[in-house]
Symmetry: C2
DNA sequence: TTGAAAGCGCTAACAT
DNA sequence: ATGTTAGCGCTTTCAA
């Protein structure tokens, strides 16, 4: 009765525009126009097509659309991992910033592709854009590869990086004010009368380097010389840090304050100090970094440098979308402040 | 000198196979075969093409490839949100399961699309598959819409849901053993000699319902009748729960144990109980659920029902990929166990 | 206001 | 071992 092409089986072939067109008794062009809200189509036709599409759960094939339009509304979010330790996404701060970005992208009508890449090869992140999967890149952290990020920017890839602002930086970054954070934390310890202040964090990472800079600034302003023996380059992955921290605090019994570069590190040091029989905050005051919600529940409740996570997500997204519009952007620095609790109480 | 088509401007047009072909002096088919590792191509040609592609940062256009191949290697991960409270991704448990899924998908060579949808319209998640953006769906939580999930499954969409196993379930689910978790938590409180055990959680959510079932089982096995007055249907978003919890614990001074349905709720109750001057665990023992790493640092350290997050991510992914191979799968239940700490110590 | 037809970049059947 | 060619499903010019 009909001359339809042979349909393979009962197995449901995926619906396409031609099907909607046939059922609506119009051409595919009209369906395309209707579904894209073109004014060139009769309102009642448009309605009929729209209803039909909805009732059949038809959605425009995005591979075809992207191919034809040569663009897409997907952003790749790249969370680097440490290839040596095969470390998985675990730092709650990174996870929460991913959540904030997801919300911001959803608000703007963009899809988010979440990718893991080896932190030693941040340049691999470019693949998502080169292959047309994503329109732009959001990279969480600079790690040790400022140079690779510069190469991405030199290739004119739309990329925004969460991290510190560095000299000779070709890419746009968004980050907290790390120097200020390190300084505020240290000044607070000084105001508590502490003079032997330890610094926990791997200063090979740009953000940590800036926090240490702030730590130094505060010490010097108080007439103290930074003592390298009080700096522990603890890795981000806390499980590896425990033994180091035990040895460190055991070897330096004069330490009476700790400025840590993540809440995880600070929480770990709380435990280690307790294991060594040192009382917090009476003998040793402890300050974390990031101010994760759960950290407020620690024993004792953790003081921390607050980073504006949800604002960070929004700024990263806004910066990248502006860049996609062709705008050139300067690095952005977000304010930080102290959240004081019992581990390093207000005076 | 050449008859190349007019190239619009100095502005870099995106590289494509034809460019590589021209530069390598072969046809596009050969490039396609070389890049896809076909054995039909001369090894040395293949090497030349591969080198050329890499040196020019060429990546196959995935929209075109997906269109042609009628498939893709992307999985959509759906994290529902509460539209009323405009609540964002914040529960650390969901975030950590997203991280675990990201790792598992990366291991399998799949991309992950992270999507937020209104928890009242889980069916909207289907769009990612209908539009060909993703091959399958991983939905985090059933919320109140078992029915909508069944509809997705009835449409033969490849979908796996994190959550409880329910009667008349058409979709594949992966989840912790919630009845066991509720029972273990409650039995432990009973073994501590507690008889007035509160249950915190909204039993309209399937997982919570099962945990309450386990809680009831343990009570009955001990010869106690469940007392509805001891059940507080606290919402997942803790900020809303605080006042409720204050009133609740104040109205029931006889409560000497708390079984909470998330670590967040448990941590919140720790604070509320302290505000009411009740000592934990001496007067009231508290048990959380999920056993998030940061919860171990609370004051006092939180006991919790441990859920195997990274295993959960791996199982969700494996189940979905099997389903994409055409396998039919039964729901999967993962073991849980208690992590005992000071808030509800071992006897 | 609508339809016909070309082509986005790729793969694979077919030809050589 | 390599090339030619026909679409994958869509948007958009062009023609009516």
């Amino acid at each position: 009765m009909s001359e339809e092409k042979h349909v393979p089986r009962a197995e449901q072939r995926r619906l396409q525009m031609a099907d909607i067109a046939r059922l609506a008794g119009v051409s595919v062009s009209t369906v395309s126009r209707a579904l894209n809200g073109s004014t060139l189509v009769n309102p009642e036709t448009r309605q009929r097509v729209a209803d039909l599409a909805r009732s059949l759960n038809y959605s425009i094939n995005l591979s075809a659309q992207n191919l034809r339009l040569q663009k897409n509304r997907t952003i790749a979010v790249v969370v680097p991992y440490d290839a040596d330790s095969r470390q998985h996404i675990s730092d709650p701060f990174f996870l929460s910033i991913v959540g904030a970005i997801a919300d911001a992208l959803t608000d703007r009508g963009y899809d988010m592709l979440l990718q893991r890449v080896d932190a030693e090869h941040l340049d691999q992140a470019a693949h998502a854009v080169d292959s047309g999967k994503a329109a732009g890149l959001l990279i969480i952290g600079q790690w040790r590869h400022h140079d690779q990020l510069n190469e991405l920017a030199a290739r004119k890839l739309p990329v925004v990086v969460w991290g510190a602002q560095l000299p000779q930086q070709l890419y746009c970054s968004v980050g907290g004010d790390n120097v200020l954070g390190g300084r505020l934390a240290t000044e607070h310890m000084l105001s508590l009368g502490r003079r032997r202040i330890a610094f926990l964090g791997d200063a090979e990472l740009p953000e940590v380097m800036h926090r240490r800079e702030g730590y130094w600034q505060a010490l010097r302003a108080a007439g103290l010389a930074p003592d390298p023996a009080l700096e522990l380059p603890a890795p981000f992955e806390v499980s590896m840090a425990r033994q180091q921290m035990l040895d460190f605090f055991d070897a330096h019994r004069d330490i009476n304050a700790v400025v840590a570069c993540s809440d995880l590190l600070a929480l770990q040091s709380l435990q280690v100090l307790r294991a060594l029989g040192r009382r917090v905050p009476e003998e040793v005051a402890v300050m974390g970094y990031d101010d994760m919600p759960l950290a407020a529940y620690s024993d004792p409740p953790l003081s921390s440098v607050h980073q504006p996570v949800s604002k960070a997500g929004a700024e990263l997204v806004e910066a990248l979308l502006k860049m996609l519009e062709g705008e050139r952007l300067a690095p952005i620095m977000l304010p930080v402040h102290l959240s004081l609790r019992a581990s390093a109480p207000a005076r």
